[in-house]
Symmetry: C2
Subunit: 326 residues, 2 copies
Amino acid sequence: MNALAGRNALITGGLGFIGSHLARRLVDEGAEVTLVDSLIPEYGGNMFNVAAIADRVHINISDVRDEHGMRYLIQGHDLLFNLAGQTGHLDSMTDPETDLEINCRAQLAILETCRKYNPEIQIVFASTRQIYGRPAYLPVDEKHLVRPVDVNGINKAAGEAYHILYNDVYGIRSCALRLTNTYGPHMRICDARQTFLGIWVRRILEGQPFEVWEGQQLRDFTYVDDAVDAFLAAAQDERANGKTFNLGGTEVISLHDVAELLVKVNGGGSYETKSFPAERKRIDIGDYYSDGAAIKAAIGWEPKVSLEVGLARTLEFYRTNLNRYV
Amino acid sequence: MNALAGRNALITGGLGFIGSHLARRLVDEGAEVTLVDSLIPEYGGNMFNVAAIADRVHINISDVRDEHGMRYLIQGHDLLFNLAGQTGHLDSMTDPETDLEINCRAQLAILETCRKYNPEIQIVFASTRQIYGRPAYLPVDEKHLVRPVDVNGINKAAGEAYHILYNDVYGIRSCALRLTNTYGPHMRICDARQTFLGIWVRRILEGQPFEVWEGQQLRDFTYVDDAVDAFLAAAQDERANGKTFNLGGTEVISLHDVAELLVKVNGGGSYETKSFPAERKRIDIGDYYSDGAAIKAAIGWEPKVSLEVGLARTLEFYRTNLNRYV
């Protein structure tokens, strides 16, 4: 019998990219799953993401900023996968207050609610490599200073720190995973808010050239199934609590080579190299890739799906479902 | 002629401990000074702090959370000394939302206002060594990871990061000083919200024993005049912009030895050693002292007033003015 069977899990951002995959895995393992999502158009929520499991999950359309609603929803749950967030880097600069409301204030309110009404809950928080800013060295491990280059990075760092603090001070079991570029089916492809790969995939499937911005920057990528494995492992291993871990990818690759790989896996396509847009350049982080040794040593997780395999699965999904995501 | 003469300076928290000393120095240098303070009883503001310069400064009683008021006040100023904050560590745990409102949201709003209405302003932000949490090594330099042990530390870290970000991305000239235990005349002495030294001073002057909590922890102290020198130096030296600097003290000393020194300087007095209160222990940081080499190398500041001299001046002030601060 699976350790997740019969357990009550709440996923914030549950209709989103990663949240929806996590939901599917949890119901397959026999968990009772409730999804909270506000379906803000610019974010990742999409009802189609859970179409295949809609009769096996509880869907609650609400916003994590709604403290009263969250107070009710958090009670009675064993597990909280806390994935809701504002993720747009540029959006955080044009509307910093909204980013603060979602990524700071709502997180603090969720933790206060857990402390008061459900202190036995186990939380896994979705953080981001964005908090490191421009790397001082590579690969970036968890000892790297947090030096965000945008408001989103600052607020996500605070949100993460609240989770670790509530673990350490109040014993609300929490850990944080610092995600790098995560990709796969269900990701947002209508714009670059979640990942530039989304737009690339859409354009190539539409038979259009996609844009590569001065493509020599190095990056790493995590396929969404690997990321889900990490969330599930972290939720079930006490050694994770109080810790922040990088999630890394299977390989380090330049944006140019990702573009070439995408064309190859797709069996055709083209791209144009463009200069970096000015408003993005000033919050860009240059080369980045994660050192994932700490999470492997602590709880045994490591990514398994190569970028080539992951891109093939991603293209296959969107080839059939493109009209659901544009 | 002094470089500060005729310049328009705004000090948030200007009726507080450090802010009021900064105000006196600025008016002595010929600056036009406006003080913003909300006089929240639990914080540091006290009209008596500026009694001697009341006819030489503009006093505006308002709260940095009042975005509309701040929008007016920030315009037309050359310098912003941004000292307003919630400083209580325990208060930040019992009321985390208020701490977030003051130390995060108001700071972001101030910076947005500067960006939109006064991008030429020069800002110096008062940060704190509290953001480091329990030191991983000593002395703590600016390369030390930020690992706050309370909500106040997390929010102050975010407030500091916003300032550096707005410098780097928008060219709003800003720097941050991470203060360690600052002490001297005008500090709060009715409770331990600003510094435990305040309560010690009050008790010893009232002829009562003061409480030392398991006194072997190491600390460093900055006398307020030295801290003011640092703010003025940072505001006038372009090399500070975009940087965060530790302010350290002239010496490293155990709490027990501080207690002994206070009794000696006072010419009498006594203290009782008590065990650490449980609610403080879980957010305590153990030994702490700063490495102040970076600011000395960058802009030449270093502390000058020894703890013995600083305590003597402090006792002398409160001996005359005790009833103004209880």
